[in-house]
């Protein structure tokens, strides 16, 4: 208890003074949280405490100090920001949250085209993480060992507090095998809390379902995976395949599904939770700003912790802050000490949200600033007749139909009379019957300028649909051989 208090004091002092964190303090916190849960049975107090934060007014001096430090590091250490500051006539020492808007935004393309220009020359880069590149060429981000260890420890804390994981849990990762940094942090975080983990990649959904439904008798561990970590589109593939194969919740041991990287629709959530019998937790994160991420509350807000950096919502062109109720783009400035290698100020992420109207929030994370849920990528937002149509608007329509093929694959074309929505449907006529009419009707009810909905089971008859991460399918040598059937309660027989 006293040791815990001292470590937390030290950690808190480091945060307040803007110094580099001691990773072993956070790792000690992981151990202490695990011990607290073992003794008291829950970490509900901690989960509630995460929704609290200093008031914006109280935080301001701390955030300004950290921002100036980050700016100094970026100016001294990176070619990109030295030029940007000089061009803007700004000095790092004068930067604050109030004057941050004087610094031009950093387009994602700049980071993608010259990642090394953002690397702090005083840091020690060890990991080159790449994004999946679903909306363009992959972006590379360099991390140091310190950042990797810190992100791992923070992930472990989240596993304990937000997901209630313990030593008996088994985590199944279904992410792109190229997402090495994320997989590295997740698997090591699992090990930190004593849970087991396995990374399967994005293989055929039948193989994944077989793994999720299979049993593995390990002492002290649940026989089946209890947490699935994957992308929304791949989850959609799993759900579609699982429903087709006749699986039910009783076949799986999942308790939770951590799903992010793409839009999670209500339709996908319903079907996934019904199929797997598990709670779906929507997450938000970007490799570029890791370990900063967003948390969803039960009211559907997306909250960002100012402790991890400054988050702005700018207009779609990035020229000004978005007005309350306006759709805008998330713009991140990840803070030191969470980031020290690839330094980013005002990264214009391209992820679209709606700025919430002013007023006090009444959710469990009300202490943290919030926006709406993710609405999609800026490049896929359409404006027609004064009506803004976001990818979420379309995807909720498509995946909201219980007969829809998952993941939803769609494309829109603009015409003078409204949008024409193309949707990839099921191969069988019965599966497609009525889908177009139902989607059209719901779209009209929601006020979307939909002129027509076309459902086809032939991708070549549709315009190119929005790319999804589930398309990053990874072949395996077992693709043509079904897994051998193993009885569910097979016991290992030890010879005498």
């Amino acid at each position: 208890m006293l040791g815990t208090a001292l470590v937390q004091l030290h950690h808190g002092f480091a945060l307040m003074s803007g110094r580099r964190l001691r990773v072993r303090d956070v790792e000690r916190l992981v151990t202490d949280i695990a011990a607290t849960r073992a003794e008291f049975g829950s970490s509900a107090d901690l989960a509630a405490a995460r929704g609290a934060s200093l008031s914006a007014q109280d935080r301001r001096p701390i955030d300004d100090r950290r921002l100036r430090r980050l700016a100094r590091m970026a100016y001294d250490g990176t070619a990109y920001y030295r030029r940007r500051f000089d061009e803007a006539g700004l000095t790092p020492q004068r930067l604050s949250l109030d004057t941050l808007a004087d610094l031009p935004i950093t387009p994602k393309e700049s980071l993608r085209d010259m990642p090394e220009a953002f690397v702090n020359r005083h840091a020690q880069p060890c990991y080159r993480a790449e994004t999946t590149g679903t909306t363009g060429p992959p972006t590379a981000v360099w991390f140091s060992r310190y950042e990797a260890d810190l992100a791992t420890a923070l992930t472990a804390v989240s596993f304990l507090i937000d997901y209630g994981l313990g030593t008996e849990d088994v985590i199944q990762l279904c992410l792109s095998s190229r997402a090495t940094f994320g997989i590295h942090c997740l698997t090591r975080a699992a090990a930190l809390i004593g849970a087991a983990s396995s990374s399967l990649g994005l293989v055929d959904p039948e193989q994944t379902l077989s793994r999720l439904a299979g049993t593995a008798r390990l002492a002290g561990k649940r026989p089946q995976p209890t947490l699935l970590v994957t992308y929304s589109s791949y989850l959609g593939l799993l759900v579609d395949a699982g429903e087709r194969l006749g699986h039910t919740a009783g076949d799986f041991g999942l308790r939770q599904i951590m799903c992010g990287g793409e839009i999670v629709t209500d339709g996908l959530r319903r079907r996934a939770e019904r199929l797997f019998g598990a709670r779906l937790v929507e997450t938000y994160g970007m490799t570029e700003v890791s370990p900063a991420n967003g948390q969803h509350c039960t009211r559907g807000h997306l909250h960002f912790d100012p402790e991890q950096g400054a988050t702005e919502v700018l207009s779609l062109d990035g020229a000004r802050p978005a007005m309350p109720g306006e759709v805008g783009v998330l713009t991140f400035t990840p803070a030191f000490p969470y980031r020290e290698t690839t330094l980013l100020l005002r990264l214009f992420s391209g992820d679209v949200v709606r700025r919430l109207p002013p007023g006090k929030l009444d959710c469990e994370l009300a202490g943290l600033p919030a926006t709406s849920r993710l609405l999609g990528k800026r490049s896929f937002v359409r404006e027609l007749a004064g009506h803004l149509v976001t990818p979420r608007d379309v995807l909720e329509l498509v995946e909201g139909d219980p007969a829809a093929l998952l993941p939803g694959r769609w494309a829109v074309e603009e015409s003078t009379e409204g949008l024409i929505l193309y949707v990839l449907g099921r191969a069988d006529q019965a599966g497609r019957a009525g889908l177009a009419d139902r989607i059209q009707q719901r779209g009209v009810e929601q006020g979307l300028p939909l002129r027509r909905v076309v459902v086809s089971d032939r991708p070549d008859q549709l315009p190119p649909t929005t790319p999804v991460r589930a398309d990053l399918r990874e072949p395996t040598f077992r693709a043509n051989r079904p897994d051998p059937v193993r009885p569910a309660h097979c016991e290992l027989v030890v010879p005498a």
């Binding site: 208890m1 049975g41 901690l46 997901y163």
Partner: protein, 321 residues
């Protein structure tokens, strides 16, 4: 000459302290730090404090000692009353009680009402015992930790009382101070006294026994506490003990022996979560504080279903065909 009433006050004080402590433990949930459990390193720190604080009290000016003791008393009384009284009443009550204590010590000694000072001080000490013991027990301190602490205290008490002048000097230094950490069971200069720490250990052992091993263990611990106090009273009354006596030399081995017995009979002790799940404490709705308790199964867990074959459920597949 010590009167029988004063001697009877020894087991009576321990009985009242134990009953109050256990009753508070059953009905009131104190606010514990969100992260952290007691470990053996905490016991080591406590031991260091036990050894160094008396030396500090002996050498510091009386005013400083009284001030430190007073501030600690206010803090603990306020903490103990916090879950029971609403609003600012706990703070007001704690400060008021402390002021009363100081006033009584300043005005009443030498008068016919001098007994009021010791009685009031003893009442404050009872509140302290209840609060501190519940803070430790409800923050996860284990029976094992208390038994080890008791063993260490036995050695320290023996040396500091019988081989060193520490305890005697401490007693003579603080006995007439307000907030003195000794229960005084009489108003004459030779009144029977028992240290706050001794009573605290006896009550703490009762609480962690209840938590770790159940009501029967708690009764055994409480009975041992009263028996130790009664034995001391008898020894004092018959002249077997004269002067300062290290109480932990009796209490410590009894605590350790009980722990070993419980461990042998019942195995490892329960966690706090198991204690709550056993329903031995009052229903949270009837507790004076009822913090939300998350299901032990974890957030959002779906009820477990018997495992099926690795493929789809056979019954459903037949239905779909």
């Amino acid at each position: 000459m010590t009167s029988p009433a004063e001697l009877a006050g020894l087991p009576l004080t321990v009985t009242v302290a134990t009953a109050l402590g256990a009753g508070y433990f059953r009905r009131v949930r104190v606010e514990r730090p969100p992260v952290g459990v007691y470990t053996l390193s905490d016991i080591a720190v406590l031991m260091v404090a036990v050894i160094t604080l008396p030396l500090a009290y002996i050498h510091l000016p009386a005013g400083v000692v009284a001030t430190v003791l007073g501030l600690m008393t206010i803090l603990v009384v306020q903490f103990t009353l916090g879950p029971i009284l609403p609003g600012r009443l706990p703070v007001l009550a704690a400060v008021g009680a402390a002021v009363l204590n100081v006033a009584a010590f300043a005005t009443l000694p030498g008068t016919d009402l001098r007994a009021v000072t010791t009685v009031w001080n003893d009442i404050l000490l009872l509140v302290l015992v209840v609060g501190v013991c519940n803070l430790y027990a409800q923050s996860g301190m284990k029976a094992r930790d208390v038994a080890i602490f008791a063993a260490l205290l036995t050695g320290y008490d023996l040396v500091a009382t019988l081989f060193l002048p520490t305890m005697a000097e401490l007693l003579s230094r603080i006995a007439d101070l307000p907030f003195a950490p000794v229960f005084t069971l009489g108003s004459n200069p030779d009144a029977v006294v028992i240290g706050l720490g001794d009573v605290l250990m006896l009550v703490l052992w009762t609480l962690v026994s209840i938590k770790g091993y159940g009501p029967a263990a708690g009764w055994l611990a409480a009975g041992t506490a009263v028996a130790v106090a009664a034995a001391l009273a008898i020894a004092l009354g018959t002249g077997l003990i004269d002067g300062v006596f290290p109480v932990m030399v009796l209490a410590g081995p009894a605590i350790v022996a009980e722990y070993l017995l419980l461990r042998r009979r019942h195995g490892p002790e329960r966690t706090t979560a198991m204690y709550h799940d056993a329903g031995l404490n009052l229903d949270p709705d009837q507790a004076l504080i009822s913090p939300d308790r998350e299901s032990k199964k974890g957030p959002g867990r779906v009820s477990s279903v018997p495992l099926a074959a690795r493929g789809p459920s056979r019954a459903n597949r037949a239905d779909s065909q």
